[in-house]
Amino acid sequence: MTSSATVVPTAEKGTSLGADAWRRLKRNRVALAGGIALVLIVTACFVLPVLLGMDPETTDPTRKNLPPSLQHFFGTDTLGRDYLARVLVGGQTSLLVGLAATAAVVIVGVLYGAVAGYYGGRVDEILMRFVDFLYGIPYMFLVILVMLMFSDTERGNPIPVFFALGLVQWLAMARIVRGQVLTLREREFVLAARVTGAGDMRIIVRHILPNVLGIVVIYATLTVPAVIILESFLSFLGLGVKLSWGQLVAEGVSVVNPIDSYWWLLFWPSVLLALTLFSLNFLGDGLRDALDPRTRR
């Protein structure tokens, strides 16, 4: 690592750092657009269905497979349900799964990575070996096993999905945090804290974690899309539980074919999925640039 990074961890400077980053983020139009799009999508998914009393469940097989029209902006699906309602309500699951799993990833990954990076040496070596080892286990395999374990619950319960998807994503987070902590612990302010007699716990919590927050936020914005995509694989394999974008996309794929295609069934969920992931990615990139002091010129 070069020595150009100058993150100073005191409280008042911390806010100015935040303000500084915010200022730079605002200047990054792509990232800003991503953020705005994200807010719009979340609002649409969580507020619109309630506000307009949309019903994603009411079937009317006599009005099935209608292309988008003024009555049904997104068309209707194979059972004649309003597709706009389904896409929005499906978004709730996908976004929730993404956020909840990411929260789990952040907690586990940061703790694990901080311990490994802070102590270094043998502890680091073995903890990272373990991460490497888990990388070697097919992630989908873990997810499927966990999903199966919980599959006898009588009604669809999305919590196992959060848990299972979070389970496989924390590895990368742990690696990244560990890498950061490894360099941070050699820095003057940590040494200074150490000299004043602060305990390991206190140093980690008060001095190191605030400094890795930036990269954690960035990586978290990248985890959300990864989890949403992972959930779509589950749906593709028939292990999905709830109405979600992944499930809609998986169903949509089977009805798009040159001989006949209800293209809107694939198009809308794909567009929303892609838009969300685009936004999150751009926002993540923007955050990275804003928080990375080296890009300050």
């Binding site: 311990v115 373990f130 490497d132 070697g136 992630y139 499927i144 966990v146 998986a250 990615n281």
Partner: protein, 399 residues
């Protein structure tokens, strides 16, 4: 800075203890004890001295060789081979690699144990049929296939079979074959698909990334990155279906699915490669931007070196380094993540097995795929680490 070699070990001890407690309360104390002792032992290998590591690693490797040599060569020849392997590895294998071996093999055993437990916790069993069989028939089948009702007993039977016979056990849902009979033909299929995908991912990713990185914030940058984003933002079964529709169903250039010739390989490999190509492009872009801002590149430009020379000599290097460190996880993902692609394109690879194995509760198949994948990916990671050390001398010194 490490005051003690054991700094931080208390956290690991606490971690293991909590794990043991949770498993003990949730599942059973016998299982908890096995897991607690196992993880404790594995964590303990970190404090083994170099000499212990060399001896332990060589012995473990020799043991593995024995397992597979003994049934095929007979005990005499196997003993000879094993002694040779033990001696050679002890003498020549770097300590770093030995240390990995000491970690890996016990971990694999733990993996088998934990996976057995998880599988048994899932509802259903491999002998459930649509029409209910009599309990006697089920008992007879359980005996025949070595699948008792208790996961720990199953683990013991499985390990015995693995160690004494070098066999991964009989497959249940496809009768008459052992798990290795099923997986051995599938492994080269997955590996060749994965390798081709990896090559494509690197090729596409590097080209896009360098193109974008050379002129940041230009049209070339945005178009390349937008293309890459598509790869990340859509599940690959959507991309695969799209490729199928365009290149097979509409244009008729490539076979739509199936296995049997080179053309069958192209679409699935491309589908598998695209998300990784996108990541690689982003990494390569960042690397290129960084290297192009360095003073020596400016100097080279000032000296009037041609742009192509600069790209080959400097940009490429800047682009490749971050990519190489991504290759380990990427290879793991590509090799293990092919199940969707294999299902979509009807390819008889490994990916299908661990999905089918889990869904059919074919316990031996599940364990067999997990073991093979894990070994493969770890070996690949080791290879990447060595390659990285070779490419970037700074890393070598740090270790």
């Amino acid at each position: 800075m490490n005051e003690s070699r054991f700094a931080g070990a208390q956290w690991m001890a606490i971690g293991v203890a909590v794990l043991t407690l949770v498993i003990g309360l949730a599942i059973g104390w016998r299982e908890a004890a096995v897991i607690g002792l196992g993880t404790g032992f594995i964590a303990g290998t970190a404090w083994w001295s170099a000499a212990m590591v060399r001896v332990g690693g060589s012995l473990m490797l020799a043991g593995v060789v024995w397992i597979f040599a003994a049934p095929n060569l007979g005990p005499g020849a196997a003993a000879l081979v094993v002694t040779g392997v033990a001696a050679l590895t002890w003498k020549f294998l770097p300590t770093r690699v030995q240390r990995r071996v000491c970690f890996m093999l016990p971990s694999l055993v733990m993996l088998i144990f934990v996976t057995s437990m998880l599988m048994y916790m899932a509802p259903g069993n491999p002998f459930a049929q649509e029409k209910v069989a009599s309990p006697q028939v089920e008992e007879a089948l359980r005996k025949l296939y070595g699948v008792p009702r208790d996961p720990t007993e199953f683990f013991i039977i499985y390990m015995k079979r693995l160690v004494l016979e070098g066999s991964l056990g009989p497959a249940i849902k496809v009768q008459g074959r052992t798990v290795q009979d099923l997986l051995m033909p599938a492994l080269p299929v997955s590996i060749s698909l994965g390798l081709l995908a990896l090559i494509l991912a690197c090729g596409i990713g590097l080209v896009l990334g360098i193109r974008a990185g050379l002129k940041p914030n230009s049209a070339a940058d945005y178009s390349s990155m937008a293309l890459a984003m598509v790869g990340i933002s859509l599940p690959n079964f959507v991309i695969g279906a799209g490729l199928m529709i365009v290149f097979s169903l509409s244009l008729g250039w490539l076979p739509v699915a199936g296995w049997g010739g080179y053309p069958h390989l192209i679409l699935p490999a491309l589908t598998l490669a695209l998300p990784y190509a996108a990541y690689i492009a982003r990494l390569a872009r960042g690397g290129t931007i960084e290297v192009m801002q360095q003073d020596f590149v400016r100097t080279a430009r000032a000296k009037g070196l041609s742009e192509s020379t600069i790209i080959v000599k400097h940009a490429l290097k800047g682009a490749i380094l971050p990519v190489v460190s991504f290759l380990g996880p990427a290879a793991a993902g590509i090799l293990t993540g092919s199940f969707v692609v294999e299902t979509l394109f009807g390819i008889p690879g490994m990916g299908q097995w661990f999905v089918k194995g889990a869904i059919n509760r074919d316990y031996s198949v599940v364990l067999g795929t997990a073991i093979i994948y894990c070994t493969l990916v770890t070996a690949f990671n080791l290879f990447v680490d060595l390659a990285y050390a070779w490419l970037d001398p700074r890393i070598r010194e740090e270790r």
